[in-house]
């Protein structure tokens, strides 16, 4: 059996005792220790590049392509080793191994695309097939390599597992150069890649070489993955490609901002993760980096300003509440409207209200309490409520807005739905006073401005 330990060796321990002192922390964070500096710099640059290029993968819905790609690199490493040994080399030349990895990685990507194009299989099955078969093939090849008389594949394993802690100056230069080139290309090709991700068909009709762009994107991903493999390991480079862009997405709707944020999150994860790993014994750097970016992801998902869960829940709850309050006010208004008695007090009855609308008794109570707090209603006992002057004003405003919106939807049906904002306190704020006056005229020419127009519903005889 081949034993390959996937556990990256421990961090370059600056400190070996368990008690941390502040001086050490500062030393590590400020990169004063040479060894630590190398590791941290490499992971930061890697995180930057992976986050940036991963943004386009995510937007192209190909997030897991990095997964297949990196697994498909294993046979390339083994084959490159065998070929170099066959030609009398030591088999451990870094550029040779990396080229081998890149070649089979790209082959794997091509296989995924071919399977989805040529068969009825969907992309998930294609990814899974390619990933497992290529990797299995690589494992089989490594087994053979290890058994070959010439072969001593020690060190090959680090491509899969990563050896964050033992990054040396030569590796760092490689990572810096590759990641730098990727970052530069991402900036240069920003417009083209954005077009590719947004609307492939449109891009191709506009005469952009879509296939070439796609290949370029995947080549850039391959480059990052290849250098990332040995730095942080197989699973963890996948994480750096996926998690930072996914986290950035919660904060912005703009691609440029998202790209910058993703790069920032990736770089930050690399810095913090590698530093923690250097400070605390027996913490694998790659894994810590992933946990750091994952923490940022969770925080972003919860609290992200644009698409975060909390922000959305608040909006939703607010919308539901507003809708219910408006319903109450409209119901109140319709009651007052329907009452004939000239000078009777405007009274609404809880029992009648609860029958009319979809609310439960408890929900109605809550709404009535709200209305009382706002001095819109005053309790007169027996489940009866008097509508205050303020309540009448407010109810009239809501009813008027509602009916004007309805009229607007009817008479401007071609543009209307995109303009409707029912939350607006005053319809004038959205549509402007002139349009509103026109709508009022449409409703009923003789209708005095400022009063409530009748509902434009067309009601069938049996219901509605």
């Amino acid at each position: 059996m081949t034993t390959l330990s996937p556990i990256p060796t421990d961090g370059p321990h600056v400190v070996h005792d368990t008690a941390l002192n502040l001086g050490d922390v500062v030393d590590v964070l400020l990169l004063r220790d040479y060894n630590t500096m190398l590791v941290v710099l490499a992971t930061v640059v890697l995180g930057l590049a992976a986050g940036a290029i991963g943004t386009f993968l995510l937007l192209r819905r190909r997030a897991l392509m990095g997964d297949a790609l990196s697994h498909a690199m294993l046979p390339g490493i083994a084959i490159a080793f065998m070929v170099m040994v066959a030609f009398g080399g030591s088999g451990k030349s870094m550029p040779g191994l990396l080229i081998g990895a890149a070649v089979t990685g790209l082959l794997g990507v091509a296989a995924v695309l071919a399977i989805t194009r040529l068969t009825r299989l969907k992309d998930d099955a294609a990814l899974g097939v390619v990933l497992s078969v290529f990797f299995g093939f690589g494992v089989a090849l490594l087994g053979i390599v290890q058994d070959m008389p010439e072969g001593s594949p020690a060190g090959l394993a680090s491509f899969i597992q990563g050896k964050t802690a033992s990054i040396v100056r030569k590796d760092l230069w490689l990572i810096l150069i590759v990641a730098g080139v990727v970052a530069l290309m991402t900036v240069l090709l920003f417009k083209e890649l954005a077009l590719l991700c947004f609307d492939e068909a449109f891009a191709s009709v506009q005469g952009w070489p879509v296939l070439t762009l796609d290949v370029m994107l995947l080549t850039l991903v391959t480059a990052v993955t290849v250098v990332g493999l040995q730095a942080v390991g197989l699973i963890l480079i996948i994480a750096l490609l996926i998690i930072p862009p996914a986290a950035a997405r919660f904060w912005t709707e703009r691609l440029g901002v998202m790209l910058a944020l993703a790069a920032l999150i990736g770089g930050l994860g690399g810095w913090i993760g590698a530093s923690i790993s250097a400070l605390v014994p027996r913490l694998p750097a790659g894994a810590i980096i992933v946990i750091v970016v994952a923490t940022i992801f969770v925080a972003s998902m919860l609290f992200g300003a644009r698409r975060g869960v909390v922000a959305r829940l608040i909006v939703q709850a607010r919308l539901g509440r507003t809708v219910r309050r408006q319903h109450l006010l409209r119901a109140i208004f319709e009651h007052v409207e329907a009452a004939d008695a000239e000078d009777a007090e405007p009274i609404v009855v809880e029992a009648t209200l609860v029958q009319e609308r979809s609310w439960s008794r408890a929900a109605l109570r809550r709404l009535l309490r709200w209305a009382r707090r706002r001095h819109l209603l005053a309790a007169v006992g027996d489940g009866r409520w008097r509508v205050t002057d303020l309540g009448l004003t407010e109810a009239a405003r809501v009813a008027r807005n509602h009916r004007l919106w309805e009229i607007y939807l009817i008479h401007h049906a071609d543009v209307a739905p995109s303009h409707v904002d029912r939350d607006a306190d005053q319809i004038e704020h959205v549509l402007g006073p002139r349009l509103v006056r026109e709508l009022e005229r449409l409703l009923e020419p003789a209708h005095p401005a400022g009063t409530v127009p009748p509902s434009p519903h067309v009601i069938g005889p049996e219901g509605g």
Binding site: M1, T2, L4, S5, P6, I7, D10, R61, R62, A63, L64, G66, D67, M82, L118, T119, R120, D124, A125, L127, G128, V129, L131, S132, V133, F134, F135, G136, F137, V139, A140, L141, L142, G143, I144, V145, D147, M148, P149, I235, L236, I238, A239, L241, I242, I243, A246, R249, F250, R282, L283, P284, G286, A287, V290, I291, F297, M301, R307, V309
Partner: protein, 435 residues
């Protein structure tokens, strides 16, 4: 090649493992959740570590519980990230499983003294060693892996058997399942829990990578070979078993070719499965690449011959004698094709008895004339239909009619004839031949 009892046990273990995986894989592939297999098999690592830390033993039951819980959690987390975070499902899987894997790594490294888990073993497995670890079953000593994997296979078979129709409907149309009162989400979680348990059972024997291969590859191949769920499952099981058996044979034989003595059986099983999959993609009877190319070429050939037939008929109509090379030239320029292709089209007509050599040229046989008249009639009916009913300009109708005439069946032709009942001529003023 030397074959020992040991090899038989290895094959038995491989086959049990592969079939247990492949059975579930069918539903993963059909739900477009293949990568969930990948995700879960990576994500169970922390589950194993925690189960180990809590129980302090490697007892299978504890491991299975740990794995089952984390497998379910993975599915739930992915669902959350997908629905609450509105992240694309693939990316959601990527986020969740890499994170869980990282946590698992940290746990194992931090507690290395307490956890006797070799993650290398988790990735690659050690099927070669599995037969040595035996337990007594009645009077026999059987490899533990056989017992464990056999039980898991039985469990999977039982669950799939009992919930067959629920799994089926919730894979095909979750919305319908929901409106029928079948909880599609619950079925999904059940499936994911089974995947996690199977993954753990298979770890020790074959490693996580082969688990993914056996979850996805047999089912994907079977999807290309069958059109019914029942037969798809059957084919996937056979495919998995064959891959496992051939994989072990290959692991013994292939290394000899390059002067090595041995390699990893699990890797070879995945490789063989991949090879068989590639053959399936190319050679599957109906959905294979080759058969589709052949069908397309055949259709092209028929269309070409029909165009050649139409050309002969029109020339006969105009009473224009032309030489054979002129014939080829005309077809070539009309269809913008190579000379060889055009020549072959005419040769095909002769071979099918639709045309025969005459002097310097070709002429239609009686059978060919009947067929050609029908074609030309269809063509001109289409032209007049396009012109009259769809207001396509007269100088544009020819090309469209050329395309349509090859796909028109007799019923359509009669419907067309009804529309153009009074038309005796097409828009170019040529006669429409009678039926």
């Amino acid at each position: 090649m030397q074959w020992y009892t040991l090899d038989t046990w290895i094959v038995v273990i491989g086959v049990l493992c592969a079939t247990a995986c492949a059975l579930l894989g069918n539903f993963l592939v059909l739900r477009r959740m293949s990568m969930m297999g990948d995700a879960i098999s990576h994500a169970v690592l922390p589950g194993l570590a925690v189960a180990f830390l809590i129980s302090g033993s490697r007892s299978s039951l504890v491991m299975f519980i740990g794995a089952g819980v984390v497998g379910l959690l993975t599915a739930v987390f992915v669902q959350w990230v997908h629905t609450f975070g509105r992240v694309d499902r693939g990316a959601a899987m990527g986020v969740v499983f890499t994170t869980l894997f990282a946590i698992g790594l940290v746990l194992i490294v931090r507690a290395a003294h307490a956890v006797d888990l070799d993650p290398g073993c988790v990735l690659y497995g050690s099927i070669e060693l599995a037969p040595w670890d035996t337990v007594a079953v009645g009077p026999w000593l059987v490899p533990r892996a056989v017992v464990v994997l056999g039980s898991v296979l039985a469990l999977n078979t039982l669950v799939v058997g009992v919930f067959y129709k629920e799994l089926n409907i919730s894979s095909f149309d979750p919305a319908l399942a929901t409106t029928l009162g079948i909880n599609a989400r619950a079925m999904q979680y059940l499936l994911m829990t089974l995947v996690a348990i199977t993954t753990v059972a298979a770890f020790e024997a074959i490693g996580s990578i082969l688990v993914i291969a056996m979850l996805i590859v047999p089912a994907a191949a079977a999807h290309l070979l069958t059109d019914r769920l029942g037969s798809m499952i059957a084919v996937s099981l056979v495919f998995a078993a064959v891959s496992a058996a051939l994989g072990h044979v290959a692991a013994i034989v292939v290394p000899g070719w390059v002067g090595a003595t041995d390699t990893m059986t699990s890797g070879m099983m995945a490789t063989v499965a991949g090879g068989l999959f590639a053959i399936t993609v190319l050679a599957a009877p109906r959905h294979g690449v080759v058969s589709r190319v052949v069908v397309r070429r055949r259709l092209r050939g028929r269309i070409l011959r029909e165009d050649a037939l139409g050309l002969l008929y029109r020339l006969e109509e105009q009473d224009q004698p032309v030489t054979r090379s002129e014939l080829v030239d005309r077809l070539r320029t009309a269809l913008v094709i190579g000379g060889g292709v055009a020549t072959r089209a005419f040769r095909g007509l002769v071979r099918r008895g639709l045309a025969e050599p005459a002097a310097e040229s070709l002429r239609l046989t009686d059978a060919g004339r009947v067929r050609a008249r029908q074609l030309v009639r269809t063509h001109r009916l289409w032209e007049s239909y396009l012109y009259e009913h769809l207001a396509v300009p007269a100088d544009h109708v020819h090309d469209t009619a050329m395309d349509l005439e090859h796909v028109t069946d007799p019923a359509m032709r009669e419907a067309l004839a009804d529309h153009a009942a009074d038309a005796a001529e097409d828009p170019h003023g040529t006669m429409i031949p009678p039926a």
